[in-house]
């Protein structure tokens, strides 16, 4: 038996919106520690790893591990039935054939309940092991989104070069090229507007703009975004959540 209550439906809505850009059908693994989703996109270039810890819910209960196979397009349809401010409850039985989704408005005078039929998805469970990163950049998530969007118009790949002096995003396309350099800054009053760089050695990675832009769908979830990089390794793009995380991994483009 699973029961999880979120104070605001918007969080879950945004998470699903961010995930559905990459995956269609996926398994949500529910355990006593929380709800997790780990899935690769269909072309196996990126991976989404989502964790909603139990303490992020106002109420949470999960007696035994349950796997919920969901079609995200269908899930989105149901989530649209509730308002952002509504309270959201997810509920499933021991051997569920559907997921119950409940909305309750702030005045507590309107309650709605929907059931989404579950799918049985036979999929391999893949994850990216923890690695040492040579560079960690934390920056405002809107800034990152803007860079990706701007550069998507020019080229299908972005090169991110990280040095002590700053982080440089550059791209080269048929119509021309462009670059944006961010220097480490420390604005004391608004820490979320700052760019922070931790570096053990300089790193340079070339990545697919299309996928980065897909990750940016999560911008609304967090003010900052962290990029963790190591040469010839997948980049980790993390949007911190108050309890849990939303991580994206993206394989670098290698010259071949």
């Amino acid at each position: 038996m699973l029961e999880g209550k979120l104070e605001q439906a918007s969080l879950f809505k945004k998470l699903v919106d961010a995930a559905k850009e990459l995956v269609q059908d996926c398994n949500f693994d529910c355990s006593e520690t929380g709800i997790a989703l780990e899935a690769m996109d269909t072309s196996h270039v990126s991976l989404i790893s989502l964790e909603l810890n139990a303490d992020g819910f106002s109420e949470y209960r999960c007696d035994r591990n349950i796997t919920l196979g969901l079609n995200l397009t269908s899930l989105t349809k149901i989530l649209r039935c509730g308002n952002n401010e509504d309270m959201l409850t997810l509920e499933a039985q021991e051997k569920p054939d559907s997921l119950i989704i409940r909305f309750e408005n702030t005045q507590q005078d309107r309650m709605s309940e929907y059931a989404l039929k579950l799918m049985d998805i036979d999929q391999e469970h893949l994850g990216i092991p923890e690695t040492e990163y040579a560079a960690t950049v934390t920056m405002p998530s809107t800034e990152f989104q803007r860079i990706c969007r701007d550069m998507y118009a020019i080229s299908e790949s972005i090169t991110i070069e990280c040095t002590k002096a700053g982080v440089k995003f550059s791209c080269e396309g048929d119509i021309g090229n462009g670059s944006v350099t961010l220097k480490p800054s420390a604005s004391a009053d608004k820490p979320e507007h700052a760019t922070k760089i931790e570096l053990s050695e300089p790193v340079s990675l070339t990545l697919s703009t299309k996928y980065l832009l897909n990750f940016c769908k999560a911008t609304g979830l967090s003010d900052t975004v962290t990029l963790k990089m190591a040469d010839e390794n997948p980049v980790l793009v993390e949007y911190p959540l108050s309890s849990g995380h939303l991580r994206f991994y993206l394989a670098p483009k290698l010259d071949d």
Binding site: D29, H44, I128, A251
Partner: protein, 1076 residues
């Protein structure tokens, strides 16, 4: 458990795909034969067994086995002995400075003949100028002699009618201008047409003239001597002259000449329907290409040439041999001729062809591959003596490119090679012309027609086999021999030689025209033959009309769509268009021009002497003048009737085949007459005829509908109102109402007879069949059980349904076929739904065999304007490995894989093998939505309605899916797999990480273990069976399978099965490390 689940369905039942079982003797004798020879039994492949048996059978019955030369010519006296032969080819030639038609042929005893038909001069007609008299002839002749020195042979005034229009009874004066050399005719003709003939005597002279009777020399000569293609000829003793040995130009046993008017041409009837023992050579070559490049004649050697020769009418080929480069282990039943050098081999083959002297050369794609390759290779090796294997010993074989374009057959590029005196009959060209298939590789064609597979050795492997030892070359030789033998089998099975011979005889054109020319020449030949008889001349029309000119075609009664669970009677007009032309006397010669009608209208009466067609044209009735086309059609249909009657009486299977081919040829010819009049870019288009024909057709269908609905209803004492639910061109489908099959048949028969009475003879409405039940999907799309007798259905009949289209995957075809069978044959709609659900569910869970999902398309040209899946894939494969990538002309096989969101189809096409090897997930949704959904909707909607059909495609059964994890993709090399519990799919961690089950499922461990073992056993058995299947097909159970045929369902199944076994073994191994 996929294997066990699917074995029951027809989709994946590989057990009943037959292997080589070519006309084997009864099983018992075979077993006895090998009982004492265990070693032999082990080694011999089925095809080798065939070879061996051929030798035994022939060896016992005749001494002629493997004897190349023709029977020796006995001594005879040319003064008294007539020579009778079947001529197979005719060509224009110069002999003693005179134009001749050179006929090649074979006598009944099998002696080859070349006969020069002398003294025939080519001619054309031009209308004589007004007041042109006999005394003008010499003056005109003199004038033309100065204009075209030495060209004119004679000028004659003759009375003829022009074939165009009815212009009264009296003939007009024409000049028949005969030229000495057929090559001059076009200059002289052109002169008249361009107004360059400025001869004038007072008012008498030429302007821009229309010339008449434009036809090539050989055809002209054949028409005037009444010689038709493949017919028999008698040269009476004393009339012909033997060519002196020194002057002989051919390798024929008999070389002679005869004046054209002394020769007796036999019409192909009765006794003269027979066939001479034509020698048919089928051959195939193998070349050793380099890795990744399709063999090029400049560089890559020819390494083997296999030959099979049979005499027409004999059941077994009497020569089977293979020329090999380097040594080759012996093959029982076949000669192996080893050669040290390529030059030696090429020359050896040339000498072989000369000695065996085939009349027909066949093979598979020989015209565009084998023959050009041999010629190019010989040129590259400077073997200058090679290209002389025609019957004219001094004529070199040359190649030309040609483009053949026809409305009926489309545009094809091909090579033309002159092998004088020998017919070339490429089975690939024939099959492409006459049959619509998914694939035209020799392998799939033989699978389709002969139920026999062959191994498909990719050309990159051939080199390895050649570079191996004598044993591996032997393997290649057997393969090559089989490729040479199959075309002969195909030819026999399809009765291609017989049918084409009959077509040549019926239409009168030489055999070689049938493959190299279009439909029109056949009608032209018949038209000219008839015109000659009736003293008609055919104007030389210049092609002005554009091909876009359209006229209204046949009518289609709007279908009342639905599923009919009552008998639907079908009434057909037999030979509708020909009978309309006959009934209404529609012809060039009966067409009245408005001007003539105005002028002579008073002498002709509408309705009595002439009639107005629904299209608004006027034709005189047969009482005034009988049209040529109706006469031709009457003869054709009459001959067909006779042939069909003879066919019923005939017992000899060989003669039966000839007669059947004949009646088919007659039917096709009759139907092509209408098309000829409507071909706007044709030789003699006449839209007044063709649009009148279709207009009559439309009227008749409408009338039939009206008549049936008005006369078969409750008012007339029947229980139901009859309703015409559909009609197309020449048929109407009637729902009479009763549930009783017999009653419907009776009603259909009566209605057909009554309606026939409404129309002019010979138009006849026939009751042919009843569909019950009947599924009418749309115009030209329907299916039903076909009944001609009330006791049991004949077959299931489908039209326009996705069972034959080639641009979808085989899954669609099999599913549709099974569904229709269940609905129509078994009347089990629920079962059909269940079946569809199971298939969809299997599809989403990746349980469908990959071979069923493969789509193939030919890579026709390098740059398409729009991006296409198969072109893009070929490009990607080339980047991956240039060696195995498909080249121009290959068929590209592909599947659609899952891609990123918004990826186009062409970005998601992938090589099926690559998909198998790397476990790439397929876009099952694509297959469901883009391939299966629409055809299924079309079938089920009339039965179940919209709602239920939708649930059929989106119901609960679509909620279990399986997604493969590929081994390629940017992130895969970084990812770590977490095993999930085999019971409930939760990820395994901690102490359970290495095992197979999670804590909760542990108590049921034994059950899951058992299940896994069962599954593995099933997969292993399946793989073993597939592997032996392939070994049998390749002909040896002791060798590795090297076949990579992309058309073969078993190939993918075998590859997939191999992988399944590996995966399943790995899964099972997880139990080993489990903490029990």
């Amino acid at each position: 458990m996929a294997a066990t689940v699917k074995r029951g369905t027809p989709l994946t039942d590989f057990t009943n795909i037959p292997h080589s079982s070519a006309s084997q003797p009864a099983g018992d004798t075979k077993r006895v034969k090998y009982a004492g020879n265990a070693l032999k039994q082990k080694k011999a492949s089925s095809f080798e067994e065939d070879l061996e048996r051929l030798e035994e059978e022939i060896g016992h019955s005749a001494e002629n086995d493997q004897k190349w030369a023709r029977p020796a010519l006995p001594a005879f006296d040319p003064k008294t002995t007539p020579i009778v032969f079947q001529q197979i080819d005719a060509e224009e030639a110069i002999y003693n400075d005179q134009p001749v038609v050179r006929l090649f042929g074979v006598t009944e005893e099998g002696h080859s003949v070349m006969c020069n038909m002398t003294g025939f001069y080519h001619y054309f007609y031009v209308q004589a100028p007004y007041q042109f008299e006999q005394y003008h002839v010499n003056s005109l002749h003199d004038y033309l002699d100065t204009l075209y020195p030495g060209a004119i042979y004679s000028i004659e005034i003759v009375s003829r009618w022009s074939i165009m229009y009815y212009l009264g009874e009296s003939p007009s004066a024409f000049l028949k201008i005969t030229v000495k050399d057929p090559r001059h005719i076009n200059r002289v003709r052109g002169g008249f047409e361009r107004g360059q003939v400025e001869w004038r005597d007072g008012n008498v002279g030429f302007a821009l003239e229309t010339t008449y009777d434009n036809i090539q020399y050989v055809m002209r000569a054949m028409i005037d001597t009444k010689l038709s293609g493949m017919s028999w000829v008698t040269l009476p003793g004393g009339e012909y002259q033997m060519t002196a040995e020194k002057q002989k130009v051919s390798s024929c046993q008999l070389e002679l000449q005869i004046p054209y008017d002394r020769m007796i041409a036999h019409p192909s009837e009765g006794e003269w329907l027979k066939m001479a023992p034509l020698r048919v050579l089928s051959f195939d070559i193998e070349c050793a290409g380099r890795k990744g490049i399709f063999p090029e004649a400049e560089v890559d050697p020819v390494i083997q040439i296999a030959n099979v020769v049979s005499r027409h009418g004999d059941s077994k080929p009497f020569v089977r041999n293979v020329f090999t480069l380097n040594t080759c282990a012996p093959i029982v039943g076949s000669q192996v001729i080893e050669n040290r050098t390529e030059k030696e081999m090429l020359m050896g083959w040339r000498d072989f062809v000369r000695e065996v002297d085939p009349d027909v050369i066949i093979g598979y794609n020989i015209v565009n591959f084998d023959l050009p390759y041999l010629l190019d290779r010989a040129a590259a090796l400077k073997v200058h003596d090679f290209p002389y294997f025609g019957r004219l010993v001094h004529v070199k074989q040359d190649m030309k490119d040609s483009t053949f374009s026809s409305k009926a057959y489309g545009t094809r590029e091909s090579k033309v090679i002159n092998i004088d005196g020998r017919l070339q009959f490429d089975m690939l060209q024939l099959i492409q012309r006459d049959y619509k298939l998914r694939s035209y590789t020799l392998n799939s064609v033989s699978a389709h027609f002969l139920n026999e597979q062959k191994e498909d050795v990719h050309h990159s492997i051939i080199t390895d086999l050649q570079n191996g030892g004598a044993e591996s070359r032997r393997r290649l030789a057997v393969y090559c021999l089989k490729d040479a033998y199959l075309p002969i089998r195909l030819m026999e099975k399809l009765m291609a030689l017989i049918n084409y011979t009959e077509m040549a005889r019926v239409t009168g054109v030489p055999f070689s025209f049938l493959l190299t020319r279009g439909q029109q020449i056949k009608v032209v030949s018949q038209l000219f033959r008839k015109a000659l008889q009736l003293k008609l001349v055919v104007p030389n029309m210049h092609q002005e009309g554009s091909s876009d000119e359209q006229y209204e075609g046949a009518t289609v009664i709007e279908p009342i769509r639905g599923y009919y669970d009552v008998p639907i009677a079908t009434l057909d007009f037999s030979s509708l268009y020909p009978s309309i032309m006959m009934a209404h006397n529609l012809c060039y010669t009966t067409l009245l021009t408005p001007e003539y009608l105005k002028r002579a209208g008073s002498t002709l009466k509408l309705g009595e002497d002439y009639e107005r067609t629904p299209n608004g044209d006027y034709f005189v009735k047969s009482g005034v003048r009988k049209g040529v086309l109706p006469v031709i059609l009457e003869e054709l249909l009459g001959a067909r009737k006779r042939a069909k009657a003879d066919l019923k009486k005939e017992t000899d299977p060989f003669k039966k085949a000839v007669l059947d081919g004949r009646q088919l040829a007659l039917k096709i010819s009759a139907n092509s007459v209408y098309g000829f009049t409507g071909a706007t870019v044709g030789k003699l288009p006449c839209l007044a005829i063709s649009s009148s024909v279709t207009a009559y057709g439309r009227e008749m269908i409408e009338h039939t509908k009206k008549f049936v609905e008005e006369n078969y209803n409750v008012e007339h004492g029947l229980k139901h109102d009859a309703q015409v639910i559909y009609g197309d061109t020449d048929s109407v489908m009637i729902k009479f109402g009763p549930n009783d099959l017999e009653e419907c048949m009776r009603l259909g028969q009566v209605a057909a007879d009554r309606v026939s009475e409404e129309f002019i003879n010979p138009i006849k409405l026939e009751f042919e069949k009843v569909y019950y039940p009947y599924l009418l999907i749309n115009k030209k799309r329907y299916a039903g059980m076909y009944w001609t007798k009330p006791d049991k259905p004949d077959k299931m009949d489908t039209k326009g349904i996705e069972t034959v289209r080639r641009d979808n995957c085989r899954l669609v075809q099999t599913v549709i076929e099974t569904v229709l069978k269940k609905i129509l044959h078994d009347r089990d709609v629920a079962g059909a739904q269940e079946f569809v659900k199971r298939i969809i569910s299997d599809l989403l869970q990746n349980k469908i065999d990959l071979s069923l999902l493969v789509i193939t398309k030919a890579l026709a040209k390098a740059d398409y304007a729009a991006k296409q899946a198969h072109v893009e894939l070929a490009e990607r494969m080339r980047k991956r490995d240039a060696g195995s990538a498909p080249t121009l002309g290959d068929r590209v096989a592909y599947v659609i894989i899952k891609g990123a969101k918004n990826d186009k189809n062409y970005e998601r096409s992938e090589d099926p093998l690559y998909v198998l090897e790397n476990n790439i997930p397929l876009d099952t949704k694509y297959y469901l939505e883009n391939q299966l959904a629409n055809p299924l909707k079309r079938i089920f909607e009339p039965i179940l309605g919209m709602q239920q059909t939708t649930s059929l495609l989106n119901g609960a059964h679509t909620r279990t899916i399986s997604v493969a994890a590929p081994t390629v993709g940017g992130l895969m090399k970084f990812a770590v797999k977490t095993e999930v519990c085999m019971g409930c799919r939760t990820p395994l961690t901690g102490a359970f990480a290495k095992g197979a089950l999670c804590k909760n499922c542990m108590p049921r461990a034994a059950e899951f273990y058992r299940r896994q073992i069962d599954s593995l056993n099933g997969l292993e058995t399946k793989f073993a069976r597939l592997w032996t299947q392939c070994q049998r097909c390749q002909g040896s159970l002791h060798q590795d399978v090297i076949c990579s045929s992309k058309d073969c369902a078993i190939f993918y199944m075998r590859k997939k099965s191999q992988k399944d076994v590996q995966d399943s073994t790995a899964q099972l191994a997880r139990f080993d490390s489990m903490a029990w």
